[in-house]
Symmetry: C2
Subunit: 235 residues, 2 copies
Amino acid sequence: MEYSVHVRMNERLFLRDPDGSDLGRRIIRQSILLFDEVGFEDATFRKLAERMGTKEASIYRYFENKHRLLVYLVAWYWQWIDFQLVFRTNNLTDPHEKLERLLNLLLLKDLDQSMTDDLDLKALHSIVIRESSKAYLTHHVTEDNRQHLFKPYKDLCARIAGIILELRPDYPYARSLASSLIETIHYQTFFMQNLPSLTDFGPIPAGQHTHPGKLIGFVRHLLYASLGAPIHNQD
Amino acid sequence: MEYSVHVRMNERLFLRDPDGSDLGRRIIRQSILLFDEVGFEDATFRKLAERMGTKEASIYRYFENKHRLLVYLVAWYWQWIDFQLVFRTNNLTDPHEKLERLLNLLLLKDLDQSMTDDLDLKALHSIVIRESSKAYLTHHVTEDNRQHLFKPYKDLCARIAGIILELRPDYPYARSLASSLIETIHYQTFFMQNLPSLTDFGPIPAGQHTHPGKLIGFVRHLLYASLGAPIHNQD
DNA sequence: CATTAAAGATAGTAAAGCTATCGAATATAC
DNA sequence: GTATATTCGATAGCTTTACTATCTTTAATG
């Protein structure tokens, strides 16, 4: 028996719900591939339309502009991660165990592609690493925030902060540590792949998708050192 | 007696050296103000030219495009920080002391405006926080890196890693910790100001430039916890 | 069959991004 | 002091991006 988990998105993220039509779902699927291939700056609605065999105007019926589409993809990703976290830590009591599951999730380890139907999660993960900060590093971040466009990311951080507080109820920087954990994983991954001298992990051999494990070692060390706990070495 | 420290830049960062002419220096000074005011995406060479009372084409004689100008500003900033770090930690022996100076520097505390002549360091700092990751989060990062455009940032990280290793010669993640330190300060500052629920520090009251000190507390905790050292509380 | 919503098709505007050229001003060389 | 070269201002133009408008076709619904 198959379960399909539907991610319900904030209506301000789109003009027409892309999940409500075939064309809309193709926009999502193809935009992930396009953003991943050419990068956010070089992607245009025209190129996306051509690749989809449709017209620019059709895409504008779903999304105000390219930036909103990026925000949508990133929001979708964080809601997906948040759900996965809830699912995978359900019934666990040990916060250490929960944090381990979280790290594996953020590094997209042992991925079950069947749960995401038709869209390319690895490509989406690459987009999140390379482009997601552009979703909020704008001049209009306050306005976007007012419309709750970043709620999925904030919800996930709050959930992580909750786990941190289970482990150390008196830790005074739970939310900052949660957001730092996510961001650190992202740009260390990016640096490792593109500016490796900024890290202590070599670049990943081409074609290989799994991380050599040193990155997770660093993050684990950072996390548990901060929480004053012994390092939970599992790698 | 006044000393003017000249920052010598990599020649690939520009077409014509902006520091070699009056117009060039005005481009730098005004672009900092423009980027700070309207944000990188909404800034254009046309707007910059208008504000300077010159023409678009003149700016193109100095910089290939807007992105290269950003890379130049960011590179200048990191070279300046690196020099300041060398200067301020000169003759110090205690690595703890050096790291404290570094933190204050990265948070732009006790700034001596006289050392930067005519350009607005606080505005440049804001640009670095909000826009600097866009300098490398591109599809052409590898090509840019080949041209050594990010060398100042890498040099600074290497220097910080050196201090870390003075303190803990066996610490295995010195470079990653160095880059994480810088990046963490940046986006925690950004979050604090724009998405405060992602942090444990409230937003800074408008018009106030000094940080309430909680951010530095977090970063210090993260740093010294990682290095297994007692926390050096000075705030 | 009539209605209406979605999407295809075509067109067009405004701005951004960038290049080319020409002449005036100014500095430098001889 | 005249020749030469460099810099900058000024104008123009081209291509692409970003976005809007409108009209027709198609498909779904009652």
